[in-house]
Symmetry: C2
Subunit: 209 residues, 2 copies
């Protein structure tokens, strides 16, 4: 389970402030999640998410002392780029990154909850589709939605996916899912906190690509 | 016609050696070609091509005096990475970049030659499809081929495409095509020379993505 468990997200403090450096460290292992999907069709998504992370990191590194928490970055950009904000800089990158993180969260949660297509128990299409519909679909125009449906055909078998999550080790499905559930605790709390922050700061947009 | 004519490729010398610096300068304007296609579906392709260019540039900048011609880079990599070559470094980046360049060449040539769907004279799908089939299709697995067919629906109208090539100026179709034909002379010779080099050095691969 190295991919997930070696890179646990930390427990949030009561005020749910997300430490920028620790967040960037934890998410830097996320792009390789898309390698688990087993087809280079997904390398496109990997680089999109990687671009988001690099953009946030670049802003952070300009002044680490000023940007201790993610919220510091979003607020500073709101002041600095009043005209274009929130469609600008790290605010935009984190807006999209959180959607990719939510996609992964819902996919893993759905697997952990045992949701499955009874006729095709070794496929993860129902889980991927659920994640897509809840996290991304409304931000995609009809052409990208159609591309999603084609890309879905490249999704791996559940057994291969769980094996890849376990870094190639042959593990029992139930053992893998125990680790997934544990990973999801702090991960979900972190993703939720970013969504809350976007709502509170009125930083969310709903244009489609 | 600034996009094309402001960034002419130079005439090749008789030995067809391609000056690395001049080539990189000329192709650096190519990614924005994909903005002309008018849909952000194509931004994915834009960043793929941009990545190719950055990779070649990074190698060049390590030792500009050693890598005066593109062929110097490919040959140096063949010696330095015998085991993985040619699926490595700038050799791999240029292998894919030339396919994108060929795609653009065939698309523009087909428009310049007046090839059209008589029932839909303002669509460029026949031209895009021809370019895809000749330059890229064989390097794409069936899922990416299917995605191409969906992405084709996002292709712009011919009038909008020609207007975009002319940097937003309203030009007569025939005036635009005269400029395209002129651009294609050195551009096609350059792309042909890269293909020849890959054949001569036995650097071509035909795996699919
Ligand atoms: C040659 C033939 C091919 C022809 C062309 C084919 C083209 C195919 C294009 C398909 C779309 C690929 C997915 C990428 C979508 C992206 O467009 C969106 C928005 O992307 C954001 O856009 C912003 C500007 O609006 C900024 O640039 C952000 O960048 S910034 O950092 O600069 O601010 C950027 O992330 N990201 C997304 O929708 C995020 C996607 C996240 C993860 C999705 C998981 C899905 C898994 C599916 C499993 C089945
Ligand atoms: C959320 C929902 C979405 C779900 C996911 C959707 C995913 C969609 C994926 C579609 C594929 C997009 C096109 C990109 C394809 C790329 O995979 C290929 C190979 O790309 C190469 O791969 C190498 C390794 O094998 C190196 O990494 C190269 O990189 S390196 O520099 O590191 O060496 C890299 O360029 N390039 C290509 O095929 C080149 C394409 C060139 C231009 C094509 C023009 C077509 C225009 C079409 C007009 C209608």
């Amino acid at each position: 389970m190295s991919l997930l468990l070696d890179n646990q997200f930390i427990e949030l403090p009561p005020d749910k402030a997300i430490n920028t450096k620790l967040f960037l460290d934890a998410v830097s292992h996320i792009p390789s999640f898309f390698d688990c999907l087993g087809s280079n069709v997904f390398s496109v998504i990997k680089s999109d998410i990687n671009g988001n992370i690099m953009k946030i990191k670049a802003v952070y590194l300009k002044d680490p002392a000023k940007y201790v928490y993610l919220q510091d970055i979003v607020q500073a950009e709101r002041e600095a780029h009043a005209a274009e904000w929130p469609k600008v800089g790290a605010t935009l990158a984190l807006m999209w990154l959180k959607r990719g993180l939510r996609f992964i969260q819902i996919l893993l949660q759905s697997l952990a909850d045992g949701e499955r297509d009874e006729n095709n128990p070794n496929l993860i299409r129902v889980n991927v589709t659920k994640a897509y519909e809840q996290a991304l679909k409304k931000y995609h125009g009809w052409i990208v939605q159609k591309i999603f449906h084609v890309a879905l055909l490249a999704a791996p078998y559940k057994s291969n996916f769980l094996k890849a999550l376990s870094k190639g080790e042959e593990v029992k499905e139930e053992d893998c899912l125990i680790n997934v559930r544990q990973f999801l605790v702090n991960y979900t709390a972190t993703v939720d906190a970013i969504y809350e922050m976007y709502t509170n700061l009125n930083a969310e947009l709903d244009y489609t690509v």
